[in-house]
Amino acid sequence: MQVGHVALAATIASFAPRITEAAGVPRVEALSVESLVVVFLAHYLPNFDVVPIKLGWAPDRFHCSYSHTLLFTGLVGLALWPINASWAVLSVVSLLLHFVADSGSSVGLPLLLPFSKKRFSLYLWADTGHSGWFAFKSTYQQAWTWVTEGGMFVVLAARFYQLRIWPFS
């Protein structure tokens, strides 16, 4: 998933009050600056593994490896918990949903690293690289990316209606 991550992250931020209340941590308002910043940073955090690749510090295979694991999710949650429990909960939810969104890609997610190298994938679309115009263009030549990512924008619009946000105010 590429552009669809934006809609998914915004949708998660729109559910911030329900997520934080369900977890029993201080409430964060829907689509507040706090929820948007925390959710967007956490949701995109796994894809920051492209930075060391671009800098030449890691091979291309580093993409979708340790940053896309349950261990990484747990570590992020544990690191944030002493600072702000609400941020920790929102981050864990954002990371887990990032993995769900990426599960359709053929690259597969090594969720159980370092305990297992098994990669999980629904094989809905072929992965064509971690960045660049070709990866972007070729992703949208495939049907399921439109279905899943476009569907996320429809869900986000439904949330805007429920929360009375423009153009549904």
Partner: protein, 89 residues
């Protein structure tokens, strides 16, 4: 991107179906949507609608099959690697 000319138009039909379904599901009785708001849903529904239409288009399947053949994460040859430096000029 499309082999059939009908694919983008079929997407419009699917968008109408998706848009109607979503409006029916989320619209509250005390807050009926205006025509413009329904249109927003219709326009956005074209994105997944087009995807559904592409599921029946061979071009999308061919693209996926072609891309699946390539490992885009395979190590690339670098100028300082043995294979490059040992190759005859």
């Amino acid at each position: 991107m499309f082999e059939y000319r009908r694919t983008p138009y079929l997407g419009l039909v699917y968008a109408a179906l998706i848009g109607c379904a979503v409006v029916w599901l989320v619209e509250l009785p005390d807050r009926p949507m205006s025509v413009g708001q329904v249109a927003v849903f219709y326009v956005l529904s074209y994105l997944p609608g087009l995807g559904l239409a592409m599921l029946g288009d061979p071009a999308a399947h061919r693209a996926k099959a072609e891309y699946l053949k390539v490992d885009y994460y395979a190590p690339r040859a670098r100028p300082d690697s043995d294979s490059i430096s040992r190759s005859p000029i």
